[in-house]
């Protein structure tokens, strides 16, 4: 079915859109709020902040997470920082500059109005978090400290050592706890959403499974918010937590919710390289390290000398060479491709030749080991644990890894998907980062959506609904519950012998090779057919074992991997359709002579929104044209 997309961007000047919108949308009166129920899936930054804020407003909230505690959601692992246009450094920052950097960093594939709102709200986020007791880094005068991140020429990143995500999430978790304590939020940990209840075209609730008892329960609600994160684990090896998955957003897609720009995935340039077949995940080394670390490879191909033995004039600081004005702080997509280019050309380091050096010796000489330790101590320890080398003495070896997904459920300015009553927040939606996200912007977006956008916009939808008019007795609830049960039975009945992970690994390999850092028409076509074959093998030869009545981690995995197979295909279809290179999406056919991305604004200045249907009965494309009234589309140059 073709989608009707109404982005609901308010009219008027960019700076006034959000204020005017807030002043004109419908409200639910305080006395009526408690009559409305809202289900929030996921307790990361977006989910926890949304659930807490809804609770504060007086809505009746149910919050779900599959982890054993809401505090363990994957936002906890974000390292580097959170951007905000406070201009505390007096270095020329402003809301407009943060907006512009984000739009440009996203290679002009995001909506102006959404991004501007994000930049406006960034300052409120810092205030809110500090008031909650988030211990951001401070200078000796007792005021907040900042550092720089890629793609920006100002220092606007607030941080708490290399554990900013942890501290922000613990702030949101505390706000959530306060509401649980007050009785406005009911918390359901170790509970996974497996389907949505859609009735008469509206989202009316969710079907969840208690992962410890296996019990399948419907929860009806007047609105549902998916804050379920991204889909980097489609690559199997990524920096995401092991249990991150696409199931919630993919279930929404199956019900007809538009999925936008699935091929926009971010490959982070600084992850610890793969060490062997046993590898279960990749560990990120924060982008903030590039403030003080210099990236290089040997000038000679296949140089196997130890880094200390390679003299200065035989080192190629390729980021500084290729992008002199941004140097080691070039945006992620650019830095990742540059690393791949060097390694593909035979200059890579480490046992498999898939690595480049991130060298701190200059910074240690200049600032002393203590300063570097105070800035990045936990990251250095982590590196030493994993790689078995001391990064104070020898350069880190790093290589790009899947990290974040800019694509996600299509949402309008109110963050509502194409299914009325179903909202998406944080990484789960597509709204703010275009084709490439700048560092320290994910935390900003998650919290902007949860603390400030949704609490305002959800009322506009709810005000038009009669509260509690839908109940669990409805036939559509029974049907949805039956569907979930059947699907689980299907996994339990698989009679093969191989673990689910075996097929997930295979899928990941295909996606990394053919829909990863660079993509081509032939590669993508091969990938689509290979995905089909592996999926077939999975259904034939995988084994889940156990039963559905208690904790069964293989059963959880099987459901998630099955959805990844279907989703992976859509990702390739989208990548095939987008015949241009922009941001994290690099099509080999579309590059300049010196290997830079070649964008095609004439043909592809749109959000690609997919829904089930279309000519082959699979995926149909609807375009949301992007118009830029406040910035000039330019070739993105960091040279």
């Amino acid at each position: 079915m073709s989608l009707k997309l109404d982005s609901k961007i308010p009219a008027g000047p960019l700076e006034e859109k959000w204020q005017k919108h807030k002043a004109s949308i419908k409200l639910v009166s305080p006395a009526n709020k408690r009559k409305y129920s809202i289900v929030v899936i996921g307790t990361g930054l977006a989910g926890a902040s949304a659930a807490a804020s809804f609770g504060e407003l007086g809505y009746n909230v149910k919050s779900f997470c599959f982890q054993d505690s809401p505090r363990r959601a994957h936002s906890i692992a974000a390292q580097g920082g959170i951007n905000a246009a406070k201009n505390y450094q007096n270095d020329g920052d402003s809301v407009f500059r943060l907006f512009y950097d984000t739009i440009k960093g996203g290679d002009f594939r995001a909506r102006e109005a959404n991004v501007y709102r994000l930049a406006q709200l960034s300052v409120n986020i810092i205030d809110q978090c500090v008031a909650q007791g988030v211990p951001f880094a401070r200078d000796y005068g007792g005021l907040l400290a900042n550092r720089s991140f890629g793609g920006a020429q100002v220092s606007r990143t607030f941080y708490a050592k290399g554990q900013t995500g942890q501290q922000l999430l613990l702030g949101a978790y505390a706000a959530l706890n306060r509401q649980i304590h007050a009785g406005t939020v009911a918390m359901f940990p170790h509970t996974e959403m497996l389907d949505l209840i859609i009735s008469d075209g509206r989202c009316r609730g969710v079907i969840v499974r208690d992962l410890r008892t296996g019990e399948i329960t419907p929860h009806v609600a007047d609105a549902v918010v998916l804050a379920t994160g991204g889909y980097s684990n489609v690559f199997y090896l990524s920096t995401n937590a092991k249990n991150c998955n696409v199931t919630a957003t993919w279930r929404a897609y199956k019900h007809g919710a538009g999925f936008a720009n699935p091929c926009f995935t971010q490959i982070h340039p600084t992850s610890i390289p793969v060490s062997g077949e046993h590898q279960s995940k990749l560990t990120l080394m924060s982008e903030s390290l590039r403030n003080d670390g210099r990236v290089w490879v040997p000038k000679a191909q296949g140089d196997r000398r130890r880094p200390a033995e390679i003299p200065e004039n035989e080192r190629d600081y390729y980021l500084e060479r290729r992008y002199p004005s941004f140097g080691n702080l070039s945006p992620r997509d650019i830095a990742s491709r540059a690393a791949k280019e060097r390694c593909d050309a035979g200059y890579g380091v480490g046992p498999m030749g898939l690595g480049v050096y991130l060298d701190f010796s200059d910074a240690i000489n200049r600032l002393g080991k203590d300063v570097i330790e105070s800035r990045y101590g936990n990251l250095f320890d982590m590196y030493a644990n994993i790689a078995g080398e001391n990064p104070y003495a020898t350069p880190m070896r790093i290589y790009p890894a899947p990290h974040y997904t800019m694509g996600g459920l299509w949402v309008d300015y109110n963050l509502m998907t194409t299914i009325p009553g179903l909202f998406a927040a944080g990484e789960a939606n597509f709204s703010d980062h275009g084709a490439n996200r700048l560092g320290a912007s994910a935390l900003m977006q998650g919290l902007a959506d949860g603390y400030f956008v949704l609490p305002n916009t959800i009322g506009d939808y709810l005000a038009g609904q009669k509260p509690g008019e839908f109940s669990t007795d409805h036939a559509d609830v029974k049907e949805a519950k039956g569907r979930v049960g059947e699907r689980l039975d299907g996994f339990l009945a698989m009679q093969g012998s191989k673990p689910v992970d075996f097929y997930h690994r295979k899928l990941g390999r295909v996606m990394w090779d053919k829909c990863g850092m660079s993509r081509s028409e032939s590669g993508l076509k091969e990938a689509i057919s290979e995905i089909g074959e592996i999926r077939e093998e999975f259904w034939q030869n995988a084994r889940v074992g156990g039963d559905g009545q208690d904790l069964n981690q293989e059963l959880e995995k099987a459901g998630r991997v099955a959805d990844f197979f279907d989703f992976a295909e859509l990702m390739c279809v989208d990548a095939l359709n987008r015949e241009e290179s922009c941001g994290g999406h690099f099509r080999e056919e579309h590059q300049t002579q010196d290997g830079e991305a070649k964008r095609d604004d004439e043909k592809f200045c749109y959000g690609a929104v997919w829904s089930p249907g279309g000519a082959q009965g699979k995926h149909e494309l609807t375009k949301e044209p992007l118009s830029f009234e406040n910035v000039t589309l330019s070739t993105r140059s960091y040279k």
Partner: protein, 258 residues
């Protein structure tokens, strides 16, 4: 590496558990402890046996999901390291390794290596927050905070809520966990207004959950993968005594008024 591993097998909280012995060969030194368990589980599945359940997620040492003791120590022998960050190169080929769930009365076993640590959440819900609703915050730089206090608050706030402290304590006490939050908020101006109520209700909830008291063994600090210092327990005790007195005085004041 070749290893002999004894892994705890327990169907559910009511069933009796026991160690199950497995021999592993060719484990990579570069793999993490959990990747070694992944390998074991893969073999079990291919043999038609049930894999071991264990809690894990980020595998970067920050989410706090890991809840296993290795050779009798929560998270294993390496200091300041979670089980997921423990690498096999710190073992030797031929080693015998025992893996079991965190042991504590207040953490019942759910299955195999998975324990129920929801008591921690309930302690946090009882007062581990600053009551500031969204939108009510003043300008962030309006209140300067001495760097020393702010850094100390961060160190306390670095707790990942894994429960190693409880498991390592002979009394099964959650004092280190509770103190970390009480001290984190108590060191900051933002946390002052509610500090009295906070410390009283969090300690009260901790007792209700069945955690033991602190008798200064110091095992919690030894086991903590994030290096949370036992000095926070002292600090919390001080706050607690002050709060008790304050509460008593204010109750007496109310009685007089009657």
């Amino acid at each position: 590496m070749d290893l002999t591993v004894y892994v705890w097998r327990q169907r559910n909280s009511k069933a009796k558990g026991s160690f199950e012995r497995h021999e592993l060969t060719g484990i990579s030194e570069d793999s993490s402890f959990l990747e070694m368990l992944d390998t074991l589980n893969g073999i079990l599945i291919e043999q038609g046996n049930e894999p071991f359940a264990f809690e894990h997620d980020c595998r970067e040492g920050i989410c706090g999901s890991c809840s296993m003791s290795i050779n009798g120590r929560p998270h294993g022998h390496k200091k300041l390291t979670t089980a997921c960050q423990l690498h096999m190169r710190t073992f030797s080929s031929g080693d015998v390794i025992y893996v079991e769930p965190f042991r504590a009365g207040a953490f019942p076993v759910v299955k195999d290596l998975v324990t129920d640590r929801s008591a921690f959440d309930r302690i946090q819900q009882s007062g581990g927050f600053v009551s500031v609703s969204t939108g009510a915050a003043p300008e962030a730089n309006a209140t300067p905070i001495e760097k020393e206090f702010s850094d100390e608050a961060f160190d306390a706030a670095a707790c990942i809520g894994c429960g190693a402290c409880v498991s390592a304590c002979p009394n099964g006490s959650a004092m280190l966990f509770t103190a970390a939050k009480v001290v984190h908020l108590g060191l900051l101006p933002q946390g002052q207004a509610e500090q009295t109520d906070r410390v009283l209700s969090m300690v009260d909830q901790m007792d209700k959950e069945g955690f033991g008291g602190c008798t200064n063994h110091g095992e919690c600090q030894e086991a903590c993968p994030k290096g949370i210092s036992i000095k926070y327990i002292t600090k919390m005790n001080r706050d607690y005594i002050r709060a008790t007195v304050k509460r008593a005085v204010s109750l007496r004041g109310k009685m007089k008024a009657q």
